[in-house]
C-alpha cells in the first residue's frame, strides 16, 4: 500500500475503527465498514479526509443497520445462550452489565447526538464535527451538551432500574 491512501489509512484507520466499534458494538463490522470507507477513498480521494471518512462511515452504519436487524437479533440470541452456558466470574459479569448499560444509554440518544459524542471522543474539533455531520458550527456545543447530559441520565436511569430489579 503506497501513496496518499496509505497515509490516510495510517492516520485515521485506528480512530475510525474505534469509533465504529463504539458505535456498532461489533469490532468485525467496524473493520469491514472501515475497509469499505477506505475503498471508497481510493476511488475518490477526499480533499478534507477526516470528516469525509467519518461521514461515509456513519452513513454506512445507518444503511447497514437497516439491513442487519434480523441478523443482529439472531446474534444476540446466540450470545445470550452462551452466557447461560458459560458462567464467568462476578467481576466479569459486572463489566458486561456495565458495557450493556452504556450501550443501551447510547442507543437512547438521537443519531446526531450520538455521532457528535463519538466524534468528539475521537478528538474531533467542533469544525470537524460540524463538517462531518452537516451541522452549523454554532450548534455543536449545544448538541454535545445535550448528548452528554442525556447519556449520563439514561445510564443512571438504566442502572437504577437494573439495581431495583436485582
Amino acid at each position: 500500500m503506497t501513496g496518499p491512501i496509505a497515509a490516510l489509512f495510517e492516520e485515521y484507520h485506528a480512530s475510525l475503527v474505534r469509533m465504529l466499534t463504539r458505535r456498532t458494538g461489533d469490532s468485525d463490522r467496524a473493520e469491514e465498514i472501515a475497509q469499505e470507507v477506505f475503498a471508497r477513498a481510493v476511488v475518490a480521494p477526499p480533499r478534507n479526509p477526516r470528516p469525509w471518512l467519518f461521514a461515509v462511515a456513519l452513513n454506512l452504519v445507518r444503511e447497514e443497520g437497516r439491513r442487519r436487524v434480523t441478523l443482529d437479533r439472531r446474534l444476540v440470541l446466540y450470545k445470550a445462550e452462551q452466557q447461560d452456558a458459560v458462567e464467568g466470574p462476578d467481576e466479569a459479569m459486572d463489566r458486561a452489565d456495565r458495557i450493556a448499560s452504556v450501550r443501551n444509554a447510547l442507543d437512547m440518544l438521537t443519531e446526531r447526538d450520538r455521532d457528535a459524542l463519538l466524534l468528539k471522543a475521537e478528538g474531533f474539533s467542533y469544525d470537524d464535527i460540524a463538517a462531518t455531520l452537516g451541522l452549523a458550527r454554532g450548534a455543536v456545543g449545544t448538541t454535545l451538551s445535550r448528548a452528554r447530559a442525556r447519556l449520563v441520565e439514561a445510564y443512571r436511569a438504566g442502572k437504577e432500574q437494573h439495581d431495583a430489579a436485582s
Binding site: E32, Q35, A39, N48, V56, L60, A130, S145
Partner: protein, 316 residues
C-alpha cells in the same frame, strides 16, 4: 452579559471558544456564581460521559467462540452461491462423479471465516498454512497493530480539560475553515435485503465462475447434489502469501490501498479477498502463458464506475 448557555459552557470546556470571544465570558464567570456552578457541573458531566464512552472499549467478559459466531455472521455469502452453482452444473451437465477421497465436513467448519483451514486440511495435502490477519501483506500490518496505542492520542485526557485556562486556549488547527462534508460523497446505496445477497454473485459473475470451477473439478462417479456442493466448497483453500505467490510464479496482484482479509486457492486460481461492509471484493488471478491474468468481482451495491476505478488500482 446574560448567563452562559449550556452550549457555550461546553464549548468553553472543550476549548472551542475563540480567544477574541473569551473576555466577556470570563468577566461574567468571575461575577456570576450561578454560571460558575453550572460550569463545574458541566465539567463533571463531561468527565462522566467520557468515562462511559470508554467503557465501550472494555473487552466483553464472555467470549463467544468463533466457531459459533462466524457461521451466523456470514454464512450465506459462501454456501448459497456454491451450492447453487453445483446444482446448476448438475442440471446442465447431467451427472457428475464424486471424488473418491471426499470427506464430508460440518458446514460450520467449512464456512467459518476464522477456521477455513480446518476444512481444507482434511481434503488437501499438504495442509495449507493457517490463515490469519498476519497473512495480509506486510504494508498493512503496522496500522492495525497500532490501534490500541493510538487511543491515547485521539482522546485527550479529561484532566486536560479541567483547567479552564487550558480549555480556553485557542486551537489554531481547529480554527481552520473546513470545507463542508460532502453529502454527495456519501456512500452509494448498498444492497438491501437477503434477496439482493443471492443476486450479488449472479451480478458479479461469481455464479458463472464457480460453476466453471465445479466443471473443472468434474468428478468421475455419480454424486448427489449435496455431496457435490460439499466437494466444490472444500476445494477452496485458504493459503498464505508465499504460497499464493508460488502458485502465480513468484508474483501477485493486489488492490492498492486495501487490506486483504484472506488469500484463497481454488484449482489454479488464487483469490485475494477484501472485506467490504456490503460483501467481499474478490481479486481472482491465475497464470496464463506465464503471465498473471485476473478479474475483479465486487458485491452488488458497489457502484460500477467505482469498481472500474478499483480495477485501475490493481497492481503487482
Amino acid at each position: 452579559m446574560p448567563h452562559l448557555d449550556d452550549g457555550m459552557i461546553h464549548a468553553l470546556l472543550d476549548g472551542e471558544i475563540p480567544s477574541s470571544e473569551l473576555p466577556p465570558i470570563t468577566t461574567h464567570l468571575a461575577s456570576c456564581a450561578e454560571c460558575r456552578a453550572r460550569l463545574e457541573r458541566a465539567q463533571a458531566l463531561m468527565a462522566e460521559a467520557d468515562e462511559l464512552i470508554e467503557v465501550l472499549d472494555l473487552p466483553a467478559e464472555v467470549e463467544v467462540p468463533a466457531t459459533i459466531v462466524t457461521p451466523i455472521r456470514r454464512p450465506q455469502r459462501w454456501i448459497a452461491p456454491v451450492a447453487w452453482a453445483a446444482s446448476l452444473v448438475i442440471a446442465v451437465g447431467g451427472g457428475y462423479a464424486a471424488r473418491g477421497n471426499l470427506i464430508l465436513v460440518p458446514p460450520q467448519e467449512s464456512v467459518a471465516v476464522n477456521a477455513p483451514t480446518q476444512a481444507a486440511d482434511k481434503t488437501v495435502a499438504p495442509p495449507p498454512a493457517v490463515a490469519t490477519r498476519e497473512a495480509t501483506p506486510p504494508a498493512a500490518a503496522p496500522a492495525r497493530t497500532e490501534q490500541p496505542a493510538a487511543k491515547s492520542s485521539a482522546a485527550p485526557p479529561v484532566e486536560q480539560r479541567a483547567a479552564l485556562a487550558e480549555a480556553t486556549k485557542p486551537n489554531d488547527a481547529a480554527r481552520e475553515r473546513r470545507e463542508p462534508a460532502p453529502p454527495a460523497a456519501a456512500p452509494a446505496p448498498l444492497a438491501a435485503g437477503a434477496a439482493m445477497g443471492a443476486l450479488r454473485d449472479a451480478a458479479s459473475g461469481n455464479v458463472a465462475r464457480r460453476a466453471d470451477e465445479a466443471r473443472e473439478l468434474a468428478p468421475r462417479n455419480a454424486a448427489t447434489p449435496k455431496q457435490l456442493a460439499l466437494d466444490v466448497r472444500t476445494r477452496v483453500d485458504t493459503i498464505e502469501l508465499p504460497d499464493a505467490m508460488r502458485l502465480l510464479g513468484g508474483n501477485i496482484r493486489l488492490v492498492g490501498g486495501l487490506v486483504p482479509r484472506r488469500l484463497e486457492s481454488a484449482g489454479n486460481e488464487v483469490r485475494v479477498v477484501y472485506p467490504l461492509a456490503s460483501g467481499e471484493l474478490v481479486l481472482a488471478q491465475w497464470l496464463a502463458s506465464g503471465r498473471i491474468a485476473w478479474r475483479l468481482a465486487a458485491p452488488a451495491g458497489f457502484p460500477a464506475d467505482s469498481v472500474e476505478k478499483l480495477r485501475r488500482m490493481v497492481r503487482e
